[in-house]
């Protein structure tokens, strides 16, 4: 026992000296950083992801400018500038630090791309303000918003100025005969062959919103996001797949037309895949994609509006928390516990 007592007597003394002056010749320069693990970080950061998305959106934007002229570029620029300025202003008002993480750039850019090229620029700016101030920041900012800010902004613009948000103009390369409206409108008449219609829809030579018309450009941008691991294949595939399948079995409908026309492509690759407003689990993503697809087809074929992408994604955004709740991942080792009782 005596052996054990000795260290006990010693300890308080040693402890005290340790606190006053650390042992040995420890100098201030030799004190190292204490930081929590892991001490490695992957390359991805929120702002890098945002700017890659913005980069991928250059392709649909370029297609829009090519087909609709420079008025389209102005819409996009005004939308981006207004979005960033609004985010800055709201953050200052809320007393929160403003981080240029690229989120507002992506929101503004996306909003510009889902508006008609002829939209008055002041209305575009109002849309950006609504997107950021109401749909995003009022809910708490990035990470807390329930609805996709760009789609929410567009929905609010539609409520305010229905005519301006649904007035479509032909592209610079279209004959006058088809100037009526977007292909999804009831009054749309196509006089050429089916394959030439598909081709025009594919490359984007058709009336519509700035960034929605060219499926080709969207596929290039979306493919880039898939390749870089920014988005995940489940939502785009199930969304587009569901629309194709439903219109295939729906009498008198052309699935290729439905996949290529309207905002489906842009919505499926760039809007429905928005991290914040879509489910986090793989199963949830599949349910989300199918839900978007079903709603889009119902709105297009049975509803009063020509296009359903915007509202179907917003509807599924609202359901995202509950989808996540019921698609929790099965943890490793759980089943065994149950089977063993």
């Amino acid at each position: 026992m005596t052996q054990e007592e000795t260290p006990k007597e010693e300890t308080p003394k040693e402890e005290a000296t340790q606190e006053e002056a650390p042992p040995e010749k420890l100098t201030v320069e030799e004190r190292f950083l204490l930081s929590p693990g892991p001490h490695l970080r992957s390359w991805y950061s929120v702002s890098r992801i945002m700017y890659i998305v913005a980069l991928a959106l250059i392709f649909p934007t370029a297609a829009g400018v090519y087909f609709f002229g420079f008025q389209a570029l102005w819409v996009v620029i005004v939308a981006i500038v207004a979005a960033v300025a609004t985010e800055y202003g709201v953050k200052k008002l809320r007393g929160r630090p403003f981080i240029m993480d690229g989120g507002a750039v992506v929101t503004g850019l996306l909003l510009g791309l889902i508006l008609p090229p002829t939209m008055p620029l002041w209305m575009v700016a109002v849309g950006s303000v609504l997107s950021i101030a109401i749909v995003k920041e009022a809910f708490g900012g990035l990470g807390f918003n329930i609805f996709n800010p760009a789609l929410g902004g567009r929905a609010l613009l539609m409520a305010a100025w229905l005519v301006e948000t649904t007035t479509w103009v032909p592209t610079r390369f279209m004959p006058d005969a088809v100037t009526t409206a977007t292909p999804l409108n009831m009054s749309f008449v196509w006089e050429g062959s089916k394959t030439s219609l598909w081709w025009d829809l594919f490359i984007g030579n058709t009336g519509g919103s700035i960034g929605e018309t060219s499926a080709l450009a969207i596929l290039v941008g979306g493919g880039l996001l898939l390749a870089l691991g920014i988005i995940e294949w489940r939502i785009p595939l199930t969304y587009i797949g569901t629309v194709a399948l439903l219109t295939l079995i729906w009498p008198g409908q052309d699935p290729i037309f439905h996949v290529l026309a309207g905002g489906l492509m842009l919505g499926a690759f760039f809007m429905a895949t928005d991290y914040v407003t879509s489910p986090i689990t793989y199963k949830g993503k599949i349910i989300f994609g199918i839900g978007c697809g079903v709603t889009t087809v119902i709105v297009r074929l049975l509803g009063g509006m020509p296009e359903g992408v915007c509202f179907s994604i917003l509807l599924m955004n609202a359901l995202t928390p509950i989808i996540d709740k019921y698609t929790m991942v099965r943890p490793f080792g759980l089943k065994k516990v149950r089977s063993e009782g």
Partner: protein, 445 residues
Amino acid sequence: MAIMGIRLKKKGAPHGVNLPESKFTAESPIEPLPLPEKVILPLHQNLGAPCEAVVTRGAKVLTGQKIGDSEKYVSAPIHASVSGEISGTPMVINPPTGRLIKALTVTSDGEDKWVELEVAKNPKALSVKKLLEKIREAGIVGLGGATFPTHVKLVPPKDKKIDTVILNGCECEPYITADHRVMLEYGEKVLSGLSIIKKVLSPDDVYIAIEDNKEDAIDHLEELVVAMGFKDEFKIIPLESKYPTGAEKTLIGTILGREVPIGGLPLDIGVIVQNVGTAKAIHDAIFEGKPLIERVVTVTGAVKNPKNLLVRLGTPLRSLIEYCGGIEGKANEIILGGPMMGISHYDLGFPVTKGTSCVLVKETIPVKEQECINCGRCLSVCPMHLMPTMFAKYAKAGRYDACKEAYIDSCFECGTCAYACPAHIPIVQYTKVAKSELIKRAANK
């Protein structure tokens, strides 16, 4: 060179991440570090109970002499790693917990006089009980980093039959090459130690799991298995290099397709995993009578000459770094262990302990935590199929019970989620906070 029947088909873990390997010292032979002037031996170097000193200040000790022991079953004794005099009984910080623990300082007499090493005449004929006793007396703990006392791990409960033993040579953490070099340079000892493990547990199958970034170690052990006559006993499984393949539960899942139940141990499904360094230590204890007083440590990162060193336990980190030419370039952090699960320490006077596989010197630029953007990267990489972001969210809100319902106890803090997180959320920290809070609450009930 592939010999039929020993090397099995390569397997890969379904989850995890590919990390930059940065194994700069893979080709560097193990160099013995010159004897330190002084060693600091914390009396708590295992996952179980702490030891009490069995020598007093001023006592003369020999290398390999027991200086700390515990009456508790789940504990492992501590031995003097140099000969000399017990010169102090300081308190040192235990990095994983941040608490102060007792330690003994031995000032070396520079002679390295060993205690008389007891080796049985025919070690292979020793009874299982005797083997376990020797393993305990040698102070052997899991050298992969967990430091669980080996003599406890090798005695499964009577109702649990162990059918498989896996020797873990994965070393999936970046930078570390200690186990790699041990397999290459002490391969015979590793296999001999493994044969002792096999004798103690008498399993049906024995697998040696090595990641495919160590092709030379796979080849070497394959040849040794044949040369040493273990051809029918040991099988080598190459694994895809990925993090955290070498984590116990992941490893078992990958190799055997069995899931360790939540809250359970590998022995619940008939498996025991041992690290290659531990196997070598078992050989040293049984065939050479040597207690665990040294280990291989990789010193790497921002040092002039990164090396693999054979280090006496208790050697201050400063000696290791100085031997490697000192810190070079920008560095502000010293990490004990690998970059993923290692723990940073502020003081170069801190000693190498049984669980120190690596000393990594690196520059860390603190990043700001952002809000979760729900990207799901943490879910897709989690080896335990958990939802790590939820732990962070719940912990921030103080909803620790919700953490428990989300199976936070299954998390072994590998850090893959926080690595992948683009919002730089320190998920592991939140998880640790929630876990310790849950333990406190359970204790208060």
